[in-house]
Subunit: 429 residues, 2 copies
């Protein structure tokens, strides 16, 4: 693909799980991204420890970090190697070389955010870290822009997919902790050494970042009380269920006064009707309260190479939107394609219907026969007596075309034993 | 407040519910906004039909639209008058005068988005409309930036708070439609004439906008099938409940092929475990699937002057971030304030605890006495026999300080009849 405009040119430090996610997204969604941005995004160089292990078409693979840091062609350095050193040193040097930096490294952002921000400002660039909390969830951008006119009062996050998966297994499968952990490991949701997840430390790092982003306060990981889920037993989850509660590992940050906050991570029983209670399996969610917008929640996949890569690319595009021209492309494309809207008759869904029918032998069988003749299979059926000579029949069909349902309804209404179709509601998204 | 930098200067067209929300936020959160942006946001002029009705300190109130459109001081025109004309004409003229425009007007954006975008581009400015869908929820920004590297496959929205409130009342209060509508009107969630909400038309306008923003396709309101909730009866909601479904008014937009989409609004029965099923009362939520990020949901208040004002201000700040300097302030402030983190011992919450105790007369009474002595009131208590001489006592306390609970736990453990405190889980956010 040739573009008249200079591509946004990346250097990747590291090419593990997340780095490969970034690569895959750039390749799979090339057209979407280029349309959105007005120019392509290109990975020019990847720096790894063992060059021989990697071969990537059209990309230079090096073990010399300066091949990225001193390349004037490279606009944005994407740090996806993880760990503390040398990643921290590389980020600092990238900023000093006036490169924008995008990173998924939660430990480094939590620990060195102030140093990084100051270094970025001094060098007229910036550091973005959407992927460091909540995987693909645009939580950092929501606090930075979406809720920017609010004073955020509190943030409650389910920030670790491994522990939430385990808690879901405890509750739904009635498993004990060790079996649930094994299930998480089998599904690839938990590391071989899951200590950082299970202990709450991973969530603690992330809530330190959200305290900076949402509450605008700089705190240290050492100040955060954290407690994990290793002691949670099925029996307590069951007891709490009878009282109407679900247990989640909640990372909490709350403004207390202008100079003090409360920040902690611990298993928390929350009312079953609370939005955070519906967050199941490996999903993450952040529930916050702003003094103007009120309660909000953002929910999505907190880990995985593609969701994390999606967040990294959103940062890359965000930087590119800003740094290109005065007129932002962050808004919609001005040239929207028209599209044909399919007619409702082509829509496919399951259907719930409530029929009012004669209470007589053979009536239910007649309805089933009509459905069968129309090639509509019945997934659920209940019948209720309503008056002496009348009953309600409630049916949920299999997935069918709207036009098939319309015909079936007409056929049923033509039956003398069917007094009426009282309700129709489509089932399923 | 004096600032060395030129304030971001606004002209408001209209000063009803939403306009007053914008005014209130600018005044209440003045410091937060100025810190975020690096300069103040100021309303210079408000244009209304009847000048005599309004008097606002330090703001010029006019009925001459050109006082806003031709004022070189005004950077951003905020259209919050609503309706079709003259709002549409004013927006076009503002863009022609090279003003950025921010609007909450869903009808106009749905109908004239293409014209507006082209006019904006021609004049080197932009039009933002976060408040037009989902009130305070930053859904437009999430699609524009947060999920920008994704091809969005589908969007399912609860986009109308009035109808969702009514459906919640039907289900939870077992009300019939007319009573639930009255409750919504009493609470101020429904207009005196609720036709546009109830019929699904309001949601249809909004899904046309999300089709543009998420699926990048231009469709017309006339092409959208919509069906409201006036025919939904409690009996059907109850039947569907027994099958494990909840009924919501869902606005749906789905990519079918590169040139065609399916877009419709109708009451839909969704599985009770689906994230959209937990959206209760007047809340809105948008559930979407991107080809990289997977499933996401954003949830919050879909209406009200402050949530809507919050969205309008996020647009204003977003424009100001972009249009000021090369270096974006859209990222974090580089000067984060340090904060004191309160010790865990100061934390207040309810506590669940499971005690293993001797199965003997007076033991339960003894526990209650100890709680009473510690001034801890018991909200819930259950007891279960576990072995012949042993029972589990499960307690949920009232909200107390962590240190009070620690002392109580020690006191209970000192009792000979208490074999152990088997579990402790904090209850409530």
């Amino acid at each position: 693909m040739v573009s008249a405009k200079k591509p946004v040119t990346l250097g990747l430090i590291g090419f593990g799980n997340v780095g490969r996610g970034v690569y895959e997204i750039i390749h799979t969604n090339r057209d979407t991204i280029e349309q959105r941005l007005g120019r392509p995004v290109v990975i020019k160089t990847i720096c790894v420890r063992h060059v021989a292990k990697y071969q990537v078409e059209n990309i230079r693979v090096t073990d010399v970090i300066d091949d990225i840091l001193t390349d004037p062609d490279i606009d944005i350095v994407v740090e996806v190697m993880g760990g503390h050193e040398p990643a921290c040193d590389y980020i600092k040097r990238a900023l000093e070389h006036k490169k924008y930096v995008v990173t998924a490294n939660k430990d480094l952002i939590a620990k060195h955010k102030k140093t990084f921000f100051e270094l970025a400002e001094k060098n007229g660039v910036d550091i973005f870290f959407e992927a460091s909390v909540g995987g693909g969830i645009p939580i950092i951008k929501s606090f930075k822009v979406g809720y920017s006119a609010n004073q955020i009062e509190s943030v409650y996050g389910i920030l670790n997919g491994t522990t939430n998966f385990i808690l879901t297994q405890l509750y739904e499968e009635k498993k004990e902790f060790s079996d649930a952990l094994k299930a998480a490991q089998d599904k690839g949701f938990a590391e071989a050494d899951p200590t950082s997840d299970i202990s709450g430390l991973d969530s603690a790092y992330k809530i330190v970042i959200l305290t900076a982003v949402a509450l605008k306060r700089n705190i240290q990981i050492e100040d955060v009380y954290y407690e994990g889920i290793a002691d949670i037993q099925y029996t307590d989850i069951a007891h709490l269920d009878t009282f109407g509660y679900r247990v989640r590992l909640i990372a909490k940050a709350k403004r207390v006064a202008s100079d003090s906050v409360f920040v902690a991570v611990y298993p928390t029983a929350i009312p079953a009707a609370h939005p955070l209670a519906m967050v199941r399996n490996e999903f993450n969610a952040i529930y916050s309260t702003g003094n103007m917008v009120g309660e909000s929640m953002i929910y999505g996949k907190g880990a995985g190479s593609l969701p994390t890569g999606s967040a990294i690319l959103s940062d890359i595009l965000d930087i590119a939107f800003d740094s290109s021209t005065h007129r932002s492309r962050r808004n919609l494309e001005s040239h929207l394609n028209d599209a044909r809207v399919l007619p409702m008759s082509d829509n496919r869904s399951q259907f719930y219907m409530r029929l009012s029918v004669q209470d007589a032998p053979g009536v239910l069988q007649g309805i089933c026969t009509k459905c069968n003749d129309a090639l509509v299979s019945i997934k659920r059926i209940n019948q209720y007596e309503t008056r002496s000579d009348c009953m309600d029949v409630v049916i949920i069909t299999d997935t069918i075309c709207e036009s098939v349902f319309t015909d079936l309804k007409a056929t049923l209404l033509a039956e003398p034993s069917v007094y009426g179709v009282e309700s129709v509601i489509r089932v399923g998204l």
